[in-house]
Symmetry: C2
Subunit: 201 residues, 2 copies
């Protein structure tokens, strides 16, 4: 029987997460068994357990990898010296890119995090809340800077985050615009939708 | 044992659909049994079967009720004499209102339609596709009328439809803005996001 291959960044655990994200995306977390995963990897279930102890541990790996990527980007964005509107644009571009290139990870973490075991469930929810609050704070900053319309910041955040979720349909669509065009369309509609009319260049 | 009550519009079937939409929303279609539904209605399962033959028939009722509401509104919007941008605004307002006031129906039909039995599955998918195409055609009309930015219409449709899906978080949010404020915020961001900058009044 084959061995688990090392992933591009060199770890077997990474290979397992990648394959698991694909399976969870296709079948759902609940309907996927460790046996399914072993089969997909072409190894014995016992060999899988040398690297990972449970399905729940895999889900934790996927969810926190995604959360960490977004939190890291949020920190970078908050620290740069651009206007609030540019910061918001940067975040939207990052969301779009993650939805395009890390789609299975993002989709699984967004849809399946409720299956996380404690204490990870609580920690993950706290990170989600924190991320949304910081996003809303950037929108508030934009309103104070007279760049962004006088809208409700949490509502704007939910519009932004759900709108990029629509990239799910893009993945399934046959007649596709390019990833770059998709990103530009998203920015055009969403960032200019936020922007005060007298601020559009 | 109690009898199934007539709904506001007078039918027992309507009462069953309403209660089922609530249950499917809370537990998911697959996890809800006819027994759960009978219990919720406070009647014997046998009495339920006098009015409805299967869970699948209930789902069909829910999905096509929602589809019909949107298709009817689409027809009204297409026939009125307003500009394309006003038509788009009308549709977005309708989506927001449906997401606020008919939330369980919309959520269940959006999330569970894959469980429809044939030929309803095929018919429902055809209606969804048709609705999105007609929505995209209105955006194209707006581009031709020089009101809407030169964006990809199907991408704009997916942004709009997913953005209003964000109202799910609004329902669960503790610190809520009013339904009217939510609608105005959605229109401000989404319609002005589409609108050409030289067209904003």
């Amino acid at each position: 029987m084959a061995k688990i291959k090392n992933s591009a960044n060199g770890t077997k655990k990474e290979t397992i997460l990648e394959e698991a994200a694909r399976l969870f995306y296709e079948k759902g977390f609940s309907a996927t068994s460790m046996r399914d995963l072993a089969e997909q990897l072409g190894v014995e279930a016992a060999s899988l357990y040398n690297h990972i102890h449970s399905k729940s541990e895999i889900l934790k790996g996927i969810c926190f990898r995604v959360a960490e990527a977004f939190m890291t980007r949020m920190e970078q964005v908050e620290m740069n010296n651009e206007t609030a509107l540019k910061k918001i644009e940067g975040l939207i571009r990052f969301h779009v890119q993650q939805m395009i290139h890390e789609y299975e990870y993002v989709h699984v973490s967004d849809g399946e995090w409720k299956h996380l075991a404690e204490p990870y469930l609580t920690e993950y929810q706290a990170q989600r809340r924190s991320y949304r609050k910081r996003f809303a704070a950037l929108i508030e900053e934009g309103i104070r800077e007279n760049q962004v319309k006088d809208i409700d910041p949490p509502t704007a955040v939910l519009i932004m985050l759900h709108a990029v979720g629509g990239i799910e349909s893009w993945h399934r669509s046959k007649r596709k615009i390019t990833a770059e065009q998709l990103e530009e369309n998203m920015v055009t509609i969403l960032v200019q939708g936020l922007c005060r009319n007298d601020q559009i260049k």
